[in-house]
Symmetry: C2
Subunit: 216 residues, 2 copies
């Protein structure tokens, strides 16, 4: 874990984690790299390469020990650290994320949902009651969450992020339809753009159409 | 565009596209690779490398022509092809995606929203009225959409995808909290898992904490 791991390996790790978790839930204790490769639709050599970045977990002729692999990926991704998160913004995007994300099974805990709209105060979302944004400063100082999930309007995103940084939050997951970046070196932001996935799909259609043209 | 482009470059292209679009909207006609690099928070050499995969668009000492760069990326991603999409599933996730995605400015057209819940029929989502899932076969045969966005319950995802493949759909954007893959070579699926972004953020926090430990 000492050397810098490439961004594409990091991008693939959550997917490994989801598959390994499912395989474990299915009661399987050990899997060959060939079988894992078939299930994940990734070449066996890619899997070996990716996992080798972190020291490798497989044994020749034995395959991967699922439990060990899972707990290793958990450590790499920090899912064993019990990080807590707050959600700011309980509009469509925020509610969808809060309701559908399996926080606990991914090693996180959502500890509060905030919105600046007084009409939303006290409304239930999943297991949470929306709190007023005016309570957020005190909440953060008392509960010290590691992450804030931003699902606020585009125009408010930067202001909210700067305010929360002032209260001590240093990691943001940003669903606010704008790209946030902060000059501060110790602040980490993961920007999520749902429409990017649409563009990637489009690229794949083009690629397929081009290939079909060549073949015909 | 003949050679195979790496997945990581493809993953970065939508982000390039968003930035270039914003820069164009700001009235800028030409940008140095240094300035583009500063705005995007990516090294200038990374940008050069990525864009060179598609033949390169910059000129030494001149920088990038924004309009040309934008239309080139549009061609690569197929955003100039007028692809149309239907959305299946008008729950939280589906509605959020339909309302918040700027389809048109990304070169797509959302032409129909379907749900199997009779209570949702006729309900307005953005500019659309939800249609009954029972109308989907005829709608597809008449309108021939290129893509289907799946935001259905996990358990229904595979069945719906198989049914739509039968009606001629060959590209899926899957928000159904399960990983879909199809044996058919001519079917393309882009699986989106929102919780993956949470795990990536977590990794970055771990990385930062490790670095801080080393420095202190």
């Amino acid at each position: 874990m000492e050397k810098k791991v490439s961004a594409s390996v990091i991008n693939r790790l959550p997917r490994y984690y989801r598959y390994i978790s499912e395989i474990e839930a299915g009661g399987i204790e050990r899997i060959s790299s060939k079988e894992l490769s078939r299930r994940m639709n990734v070449t066996a050599s890619q899997i070996r390469q990716d996992l080798n970045c972190f020291g490798g977990f497989g044994q020749q002729g034995y395959g991967y020990n699922i439990k060990f692999l899972k707990s290793s990926i958990e450590k790499i991704l920090g899912l064993d650290r019990g990080y807590t998160a707050i959600l700011v913004g309980a509009g469509n995007m925020g509610r969808t994320f809060a309701i559908n994300t399996k926080f606990e099974s991914r090693g996180f805990k959502l500890i509060g949902i905030f919105d600046s709209d007084p009409k939303k105060k006290g409304v239930k979302v999943g297991n949470h009651f929306i709190k007023s944004y005016s309570e957020i400063k005190q909440f953060i100082s008392e509960n010290k969450p590691q992450m804030a999930i931003l699902a606020v309007p585009k125009e408010s995103a930067r202001g909210v992020a700067e305010e929360l940084i002032g209260y001590g939050i240093k990691a943001f997951l940003n669903f606010s339809y704008t790209e946030l970046s902060m000059a501060a070196d110790d602040v980490t932001i993961e920007n999520v753009h749902l429409s990017d996935s649409l563009m990637r799909l489009s690229y794949k259609i083009v690629e397929r159409e081009n290939n079909t043209e060549q073949v015909e």
